[in-house]
């Protein structure tokens, strides 16, 4: 961080800034020295901020027309679609926005995994990010319940029943979550309340996420520590803002493509059938962004075991900074880890695919193989590869590979040097 003192030019600005240093904050965000080699995978932070704001704005609007009551919720959503001015547009932005949000967050997370952004000194950024991710899943799940269609109702039933796997108190906890003896009107009411609350918790965590980021500064594609500000950095504005803006525009084109041309392709048609507590749909699937975890849940032939493994799949990510023993951050210089990284990507995609398929035959086998690899990757591969791998030479600075046309061994640091 640049620590030069900022002084507003105008007298009024100075008066205000002495009392609340908002202008200093603004100057910090503008001048914030950013590695000059950030690629487009680094634009997803800005895209995610856009997603969060979009969800909050469209969500507040939808809440003006939605009725959180078991008898009225489904009809009120149809009222939004048919009667409310531009209601169809706002609802489609909100429902597809959830998918776009997860698409962006998964790219953001895998970018961090590839370039080692979770490693020291950025562990707290990583952990706050995972908390955001957990809250996103909670918000998305509860949001999906609100239209009170068949998938809403049975999705809510299945997910809340996960808690009944807890020994001794499971049933009491489930009943407590429901506020009834099944998913019913009290459940819908509290889900609506929490669905409205969670985005603002996320917003608070995003502030902490960015604050924690601005202490060490951005990681970068070569993953080395850089002096800030220096020849290796550029000011956030206009260099990064314009790059983020361009990436955001491309993202918005894809987003708009979904909203205007295939608004229901990511949803499930059964959710246009009003909730019926007497009939379960033939094939229950969660939204696509939860499918890998759903596959892990179903791969275990034991109720409690499946639930534990599914939650472990998320919570193992919290200790990732300490499971990874490599001193080198970026996978660009890690020839072995890089291959395992892509295996993990394929593994998670495959788990997502089998999560959407019936839990039988080959799909069950694939789910089990995928689940085993998922945990092996974090528990075995990361510590062992980090320890044994012979990494490629690391450049001394960001400018160097650009100026010398490659990573000359004589100019490179040895792995054992402090990175």
């Amino acid at each position: 961080m640049s620590e030069h003192e900022y002084t507003p030019k105008s007298k009024a600005g100075k008066w205000f800034n002495d009392r609340l240093p908002l202008l200093t904050l603004g100057a910090h965000l503008t001048d914030y020295p950013t590695p000059k080699n950030l690629n487009y995978w680094w634009t997803f932070g800005g895209i995610l901020t856009f997603c969060l704001i979009t969800q909050i704005v469209t969500g507040i609007v939808l809440a003006m027309h939605y009725v959180a009551h078991a008898d009225l919720a489904f009809a009120s959503v149809e009222h939004i679609m048919r009667d409310v001015n531009y209601g169809w547009l706002i609802r489609y932005i909100h429902s597809n926005g959830a998918s776009m949000f997860f698409l962006a967050v998964y790219i953001h997370i895998f970018r961090s995994l590839f370039y080692g952004s979770y490693k020291s000194p950025r562990e707290v950024i990583w952990i706050i990010g995972l908390m955001i991710y957990l809250l996103m899943m909670a918000a998305a799940f509860m949001g999906y319940v609100l239209p009170w269609g068949q998938m809403s109702f049975w999705g809510a039933t299945v997910i809340t029943n996960l808690f009944s796997a807890i020994p001794l108190v499971g049933d009491s906890i489930t009943t407590w979550l429901w506020g009834a003896y099944s998913v019913d009107n009290p459940t819908l009411n509290r889900f609506f309340s929490l669905h409205y609350l969670i985005p603002f918790l996320i917003l608070g965590l995003v502030v902490l996420h960015i604050w924690a980021l601005h202490v060490p500064g951005n990681n970068n594609p070569v993953g080395i520590d850089i002096k800030k500000p220096s020849k290796d950095t550029v000011p956030f504005h206009p260099y990064i803002t314009i790059k983020d803006a361009f990436a955001l525009l491309v993202f918005m084109i894809i987003f708009a493509g979904f909203v205007f041309f295939t608004p229901n392709v990511l949803g499930h048609s059964d959710n246009y059938i009003p909730a019926n507590p007497l009939v379960t749909p033939a094939h229950i699937v969660p939204e696509w962004y939860l499918l890998p975890f759903y596959a892990i849940l179903r791969s275990v032939p034991d109720k409690l075991g499946g639930v534990i493994l599914m939650f472990s799949a998320i919570f193992i990510l919290f200790v990732l900074p300490w499971l990874d023993t490599s001193k080198v951050r970026s996978a660009v210089f890690r020839p072995i880890y890089r291959q395992f990284f892509w295996i993990l990507v394929i593994d998670v995609l495959m788990l997502g695919y089998v999560g959407a398929m019936p839990a039988e035959g080959i799909y069950l086998v694939l789910a089990r193989v995928g689940t085993i690899y998922y945990f092996l990757h974090f528990i075995v591969v990361m510590p062992v590869v980090g320890y044994l791998e012979k990494t490629d030479p690391i450049p001394m600075s960001i400018s160097e590979p650009v100026l010398t046309g490659g990573t000359e061994p004589s100019l490179a640091r040895k792995v054992n040097d402090k990175v």
């Binding site: 704005v57 003006m64 009667d83 001015n85 531009y86 209601g87 547009l89």
Partner: protein, 173 residues
């Protein structure tokens, strides 16, 4: 732009074009967010109300709901009509002839939005100093034609758009 001869270059054009397209895009996104708060189609569907007036005796009135607001339908006696038409225009804060407030040939029917023009309360019938309506909220007095005579209300009570479908039915809206 202090120098006169500074030419408009490519970059200026690109900036202006980008800002313009950006402004149009932002506007196109903001408008649906604003318009969604306007009355929706379900509300617009309530825009007309038909009322059966065959049971109303002279001197009596009924109140019906139209667009969520009360509408007074009063069948006035010949004496009340005469009283309304005898008023000197100079005595009215919002001068308007009684003839302008009713349909020609149907002079006995006063159809009026029952909403005080001050701050929207519903005035009480057969009250006040002018044999008409009186608003209890802030003390506005209306006469037998629904015109403001005394108190803080600025204008006469509004006459909605209405028509006689037949002799016994009025369509409001």
């Amino acid at each position: 732009m202090s120098k006169e001869e500074k030419k408009v270059n490519r970059r200026d054009f690109l900036f202006t074009a980008s800002y313009t397209v950006g402004a149009v895009g932002v506007g196109a996104v903001i408008w649906p967010m604003i318009d969604q708060m306007n009355p929706d189609k379900a509300q617009q569907a309530l825009a007309t109300t038909e009322v059966d007036i065959s049971n109303i005796d002279p001197g009596k009135s009924i109140t019906v709901l139209w667009r969520g607001k009360p509408v007074f339908l009063k069948r006035r006696t010949p004496e009340e009509i005469a009283e309304a038409r005898a008023v000197n225009m100079d005595d009215l804060p919002d001068p308007q002839k009684d003839e302008e407030r009713v349909k020609e040939g149907k002079d006995e029917w006063l159809v009026m939005l029952g909403v005080c023009t001050h701050l929207g309360c519903v005035p009480l019938k057969d009250k006040g100093d002018f044999n008409g309506w009186f608003c209890p909220c802030h003390g506005s007095h209306y006469d037998v034609s629904g015109r403001i005579r005394k108190g803080p209300a600025p204008t006469n009570m509004e006459i909605p758009k209405f028509e006689f479908v037949d002799n016994n039915t009025i369509k409001i809206g």
